[in-house]
Amino acid sequence: MMNYDPVFYSRILTGLTLGFHIIFATIGVGLPVMIAIAEFLGIKRKDPHYTLLARRWARGFVITVAVGVVTGTSIGLQLNLLWPSFMQIAGQAISLPLFMETFAFFFEAIFLGIYLYTWDRWKNPWTHFAISIPIIIGSTLSAFFITIVNAFMNTPQGFKLSGRTIIDIDPMVAMFNPATPTKTAHVISSAYMTSAFVLATIAALALLAGKKHVYYQKALKLTMICGLIFSLSTAFIGDLSGKFLAEYQPEKLAAAEWHFETTAQAPLVFAGYIDKEHNVHYGLKLPYALSILAFADPNAVVKGLNDIPVDERPPLYIHYFFDAMVAIGSLMIVLCIAYLYLNRKKRRQQGKEVPRWLLRFITFSGPLAMLAIESGWIFAEAGRQPWILRGYMKTAHGATTATNVDWMLLMFSILYIILGFGAWTVLRRMFKTNTPEEELALRADQGGEHQ
């Protein structure tokens, strides 16, 4: 057993809770958008297949929301339990966006309750569709506000620190700090993207299992088109984020790229490994690419790690997480284009199906996108180590001094295993026992979707 170190255990426990939470939070932000798009198409084209898609996604959504809510409550309370000194100092500065995040979530929760129980309540289907709008507003705004909190921790501003108290806070300056625009946009866009691919995975799995119904074809096409749009926007915002890092957090970008000497025409390193003397082996070097990524200019000077004090350098392993995120993101764009191209060809030559190898690739898109979310998040968080409030407070000074964090870590690990397993079982059972074919037949018997 390791020596008891509350800082270490607090970091692991916070990472575990957030790492588990963002799986459900990402779906929670993106899925309402997909549900609304499907419902819109269903009403607009009078196509019961899309409406059924919306209904079935919404049913699964409830389970993910439930886990998202309880793990969100966990992290909300854990912030105080594990980082009391940090909250004592930064609590006031971040409380406004936290407060607004809760409002946004409250708003979403109220309308989600209404949405789920009013499918057949109104004669005009657009009334029910209208209720999905406040859900989207609520979920997207809550992602926006909570990301502002994180942005503030990366580029804190709008306050003065005197001893253990934070004074002269300017709430707006603190909220709209330099990291806010790129961070919030990237988080929201990648959440939409990941949800689209998670749903594409489900549709591809059904098609691979030999299901022929046109319902699955429509589901796959819709999710892949959305996936392409959202992954392109995510990549574009990701590029802006790189430029933000170069200007405001050069140490994070330098550690991600193993860039030690401050130079012009800086190359970008992909993959590889690094030895103790900081020599990179087997890495793929793309000349000028880092300068372009950082300043959109091949001759721009990029700050290297050697210019950063040793005790303020982020860990070098974040390189791998950065690479994983970027590689998966690029792969997704290629995958979507390949699918749309082959799907078009298929329509011209009647009778030709989308090739199975492509469907097999698509089944990995959801899990891979989620992996990219986790990688990007680890990169962003570990990349601001050793700071908890960059430039103001080191992580080690924010943690609790309480004993027993190790036991709490064990308790929460068990909890998340049970929750993850429970959600998985329930979701599977939910969709196995009640197939879309059965539901469509039942609805047709009852006289169609909209009378």
């Binding site: 809510v69 409550t73 309370l77 406004l96 407060f99 929760a109 959600a423």
Partner: protein
């Protein structure tokens, strides 16, 4: 009114809101389990289910609101309570997590399960007990500060009659508030059998609630005489609370105007809760944190209050819509609305 007084009032309103909605929710879970094991499930289950389904996610938000507002207005509380409450706080989180997720799992995803219901009913009683520890600690005397470290005096907490009287009060009042509300709800649904069962629960738990409240009074006198003296100065609030209790019990006993009866139950707790809170001022955690030393940036206090008002403008119409669609829609309440 100064910012800190507005701040603590806002927070207290939220805590009161949580007390009411969470009590209904927690108690409903317990009654649901209790009637299942005593073979009366079919009589009250539908009622409880129809009420809980659309509102279960809303309950948690009240708690989070209170907590975030607390840190925002009074960051010192985060330091003292955060450090000392690691274990009870974590246990409460786990219970809330089990309860919230398994409610959704069993309602939307799978067939009825005894285990789910037990977890659901049991955690409903344990959560109020673990959360009430915060109120106990805020009375002072259970935290020790030395240098850079604060610790919770577990032994002292577990052997204190005050702590236990608060736990008992939280348990019985959860059951009482919940039964009073569900009696009204079942009555609205024109479900005579369920109304009768729930009415008996409400009457049965009214006595213990008032006894436990008295006991807490005496325990405070012994534990924190300063707070007790302040409460005596506000004694009219507790007298009004008692009168509300008598009116509510009278109405439920005679099966008259059950909606008004529940309103009086809410007033009974409002007067007692705000009386208790007002007497606690200016301290939040006696004697370490008072409301005056905490708000260091008035701009932030004003921004928080502004956000709060804007939020309320959004939330109140939405909540009214939710209630009109589900609580006060005759077809839905009676189960005639198809899902």
């Amino acid at each position: 009114m100064s910012i800190e007084v507005i701040g603590i009032t806002v927070l207290w309103v939220f805590l009161y809101g949580y007390l009411i909605v969470a009590s209904i929710d927690f108690g409903a879970g317990f009654f649901s389990y209790y009637t299942m094991i005593t073979g009366r499930k079919n009589m009250v289950h539908g009622i409880i289910e129809r009420y809980l389904s659309p509102v279960w996610e809303v309950t948690n938000v009240f708690l989070i609101f209170f907590m975030i507002g607390m840190v925002g207005f009074f960051p010192d509380t985060a330091y003292y309570l955060g450090t000392t409450l690691l274990i009870p706080g974590s246990i409460a989180i786990v219970l809330i997590a089990i309860r919230g997720s398994y409610y959704a799992f069993s309602t939307y995803g799978s067939k009825e399960s005894h285990l789910y219901k037990l977890l659901y009913g049991g955690s409903g009683l344990l959560i109020p007990a673990s959360l009430s520890i915060v109120l106990t600690i805020s009375e002072g005397g259970y935290i020790e500060e030395s240098g850079n470290n604060v610790t919770l005096l577990f032994y002292k907490l577990f052997t204190s009659s005050y702590a236990w009287s608060v736990v008992v009060l939280s348990l019985v009042s959860v059951l009482y508030i919940s039964a009073a509300f569900l009696t009204y709800y079942a009555h609205k649904a024109k479900d005579t059998k369920a109304t009768e069962i729930l009415r008996r629960f409400a009457i049965g738990w009214s006595g213990p609630t008032i006894l436990a409240s008295l006991f807490v009074f005496f325990a405070i006198q012994r534990h924190n005489p300063v707070h007790f003296d302040n409460m005596l100065k506000l004694s009219w609030m507790f007298v009004v609370s008692l009168i509300c209790f008598i009116i509510a019990t009278y109405l439920i006993w005679n099966r008259k105007r059950l909606g008004v009866a529940f309103l009086f139950v809410m007033l009974q707790f409002a007067f007692a809760f705000f009386g208790y809170g007002a007497a606690h001022l200016p301290y939040i955690i006696y004697p370490m944190v008072s409301i005056h030393e905490s708000v260091t940036s008035p701009e932030m206090g004003i921004a928080l209050i502004g956000a709060f008002i804007a939020g309320l403008c959004l939330l109140i119409p939405s909540l009214i819509l939710l209630m009109r669609l589900f609580l006060f829609d005759a077809n839905y309440v009676q189960g005639l609305q198809k899902k």
